[in-house]
């Protein structure tokens, strides 16, 4: 089976869909001729033509807005917002137009749109290149929100997203583009070539949106994570020796409550981990869901490990980033009494 980085897997997903479905379009800033700042669309314009893979001006609002219009006509635009931090001019179009077109037209028009965007920190990006805005989208009825953590999932989920009849916010943890990240920024980075999830089948396959993945079975405590934090959780488990079950949510909206419930009912303990700031973060939602669904099975208070309620820092990034140490501390707390 071919081995791919997450970048290559995403490119492959777009390549497959461009070849299969003439209504698929790929565009965004630097996406066409240049092939994307992270190279996710490199070669796609040469292969599929300038009519289908093209550059736009720096116009997040109108890029997404026009994509909504295209989608209403039955096209399947897959647009790139260069960093999740740049999505805010487009937030209006995403939340008020894309998300609600189906409902307010009584389903006369729909919006099969994908907005891809690199998310999260760990790359010294500072406050305008490191944010994790997922909760701003999970708060909006009508959107789906997906975040893969492996090349295999990235391809399967992106194909599913492009085929989905509704708008999908597709968050790409940029720290994972070239390899898994276990929290040691000064250590040698490992590429996807040596990781089993770097094996990506050729051709078409889709991963159902709304299904979590149990990344590591365990019996003592459940860790709910997504994106880069899946690997931080793995590192924490390895370093602490605690037999945790790690669930990679993969899809935040819809949420796979079944898988979460089955795990927490078994372990009776739960730690939620995300990079985004704490207050009103998606972790708050997860904790509420777990509490409602699993209250009588819980043996200890639910724990949350998140970024701090501060702008993402330039200089002190690794104090902000919720690394394995902080997860281990939360695991120990969850294991008390």
């Amino acid at each position: 089976m071919p081995r791919m980085t997450m970048i290559e897997a995403l490119r492959d997903a777009m390549d497959v869909k461009l070849a299969q479905d003439p209504s698929v379009l790929v565009f965004g800033e630097d996406v066409g001729y240049f092939g994307g700042v992270f190279r996710c669309t490199a070669g796609l314009q040469a292969k599929h033509g300038e009519e289908r893979v093209f550059d736009t001006p720096i116009n997040e609002s109108a890029i997404v807005g026009m994509a909504v219009g295209m989608a209403a006509q039955g096209m399947r635009p897959c647009v790139e917002v260069q960093f999740a931090d740049y999505v805010f001019p487009a937030y209006d179009q995403i939340t008020q137009e894309a998300a609600r077109l189906r409902h307010r037209s009584n389903e006369m028009f729909t919006c099969p749109l994908v907005v891809r965007m690199p998310t999260g920190g760990g790359i010294f990006g500072g406050q305008t290149h490191s944010q994790s805005p997922e909760a701003l989208f999970t708060h909006v009825a009508g959107l789906k929100v997906v975040i893969p953590s492996t090349p295999y999932d990235a391809k399967g989920l992106l194909i599913a997203a492009i085929e989905d009849p509704d708008p999908v916010i597709f968050l790409e943890p940029k720290r994972l583009y070239n390899g898994p990240f276990y929290g040691d920024h000064s250590g040698k980075s490992v590429g996807w070539a040596k990781h089993p999830a770097g094996e990506v089948p050729e051709g078409h396959y889709a991963i159902e949106i709304g299904k979590a993945d149990v990344r590591r079975p365990g019996s003592d405590v459940t860790i709910l994570a997504y994106g880069t934090m899946v690997y931080i959780a793995e590192a924490a488990v390895e370093q602490s020796g605690i037999d945790a079950e790690i669930i990679d949510l993969r899809s935040l909206l819809p949420l796979d409550l079944e898988t979460i419930k089955a795990s927490v009912e078994k372990t009776g303990r739960c730690v939620v981990v995300h990079e985004a700031t704490r207050t009103s973060g998606f972790g708050g939602e997860l904790i509420a869901e777990v509490q409602e669904a699993c209250f009588w099975h819980l043996k200890s208070p639910l724990q949350r490990v998140t970024g701090w309620d501060a702008p993402y820092p330039h200089a002190t990034e690794w104090d902000y980033f919720p690394g394995p140490d902080r997860v281990i501390r939360a695991l120990h707390k969850a294991m008390e009494d």
Partner: protein
């Protein structure tokens, strides 16, 4: 210097020319040093060099008066040096240290100086443009006769909020000079791939804003245009647009191999249109300075830049508590790491 006559401008004093030479050279050497520190891993993340564009800010600063404001994008080091900010503080912000202008909280893209009326580098493309008009609004309200230089790129010139701002600036006759630094590329995308009409100086026509195109490789031409624009603004006639044609020699940021343009294109610019060489020739042919004089300036600049690098290296890392400072006017709320 084939393409340009290097005749000494008759009405420019030696002193003035020497000032421009010194100021432009400071920016160039500073940026070269920043590039080196980046290569050594002392600067992390995003770092956008201004090399090639020096005549733009130096020319416009020559047209500014005490109390005038300036605001720009992330490509901001040149603007800060040109308005008299301390190279030590700028370099130390690049390295994310306590001695930096934002105490390491902002990094390369986000620095400010109240003393020099520098309202920042801004990481989000186009976001500084309405801010610039707001600064001008405040000055007009206060009736203090000040003008704001609002800098942005050819790529940013397509952002929607630029036109919202043009309209209001014209509607309310705000004293703002919109400076479009047209270096012909927005990241990896050449202007022609993203822009319907290349004449950006005409972009204000629909709002009744006068504009003109300026040779940005000629500091005297920039200064002359700046003086005209400033006079227009100060006399209460409202905003003015300067489209300044320039060129960046380096990649968009440090991680850009610049494969979207040819080596020859860059080489030709450097050899035929370099703004510093231009002034150098004027100084020498006009017998305003000798090779020895210029060597002495080179040496002086080298020392300033070397000192700034030493300062930036030796300045301590910011204390961890800084993460929670300056978020609200009140004391920090968050606790332990």
């Amino acid at each position: 210097m084939a393409a340009r006559k290097a005749a000494a401008a008759p009405n420019v004093s030696a002193e003035e020319l020497l000032t421009y030479y010194r100021d432009m050279l400071l920016i160039r050497r500073f940026e070269e040093k920043a590039g080196q520190l980046y290569g050594m891993g002392l600067i992390g993340g995003f770092c956008h060099l201004y090399i090639g564009q020096e005549a733009v800010v130096v020319g416009l600063e020559a047209a500014a008066e005490e109390g005038d404001k300036r605001i720009t994008s992330y490509r901001d080091h040149g603007h800060m040096l040109a308005c008299g900010m301390d190279p030590n503080g700028v370099m130390a912000e690049l390295t994310g240290r306590e001695g930096g202008y934002s105490k390491g909280k902002g990094g390369s893209m986000h620095m400010f100086s109240r003393e020099k009326h520098f309202y920042g580098g801004h990481g989000i493309v186009g976001a500084q443009v309405p801010l610039g008009a707001g600064l001008a609004f405040a000055d007009k309200y206060k009736g203090n006769g000040r003008v704001t230089f609002t800098y942005f790129g050819d790529g940013a010139a397509n952002q929607g909020q630029v036109y919202e701002t043009f309209n209001m600036a014209a509607l309310w006759d705000l004293p703002v000079v919109f400076v479009i630094e047209n270096n012909q590329y927005a990241m990896g995308t050449a202007q022609k791939r993203s822009t319907s009409t290349p004449e950006l100086y005409t972009r204000g026509a629909a709002f009744g804003i006068k504009g003109e195109i300026v040779d940005g490789m000629d500091v005297l031409a920039v200064k002359a245009a700046g003086e005209k624009a400033v006079k227009h603004c100060r006399s209460g006639k409202g905003p003015y647009i300067l489209e300044i044609k320039t060129y960046r020699y380096r990649g968009h940021s440090m991680s850009d191999p610049a494969k979207y343009r040819t080596r020859e294109e860059v080489q030709k610019m450097r050899e035929e249109r370099d703004p510093i060489d231009h002034v150098r020739e004027m100084l020498l042919t006009g017998k305003h300075a000798s090779e020895e004089d210029l060597k002495a300036i080179d040496k002086e600049i080298k020392k300033i830049v070397g000192d700034s690098a030493d300062f930036a290296r030796n300045s301590p890392e910011p204390a961890l508590e800084e993460l929670w400072t300056d978020i609200y006017a009140d004391a920090p709320t968050e606790g332990a790491v």
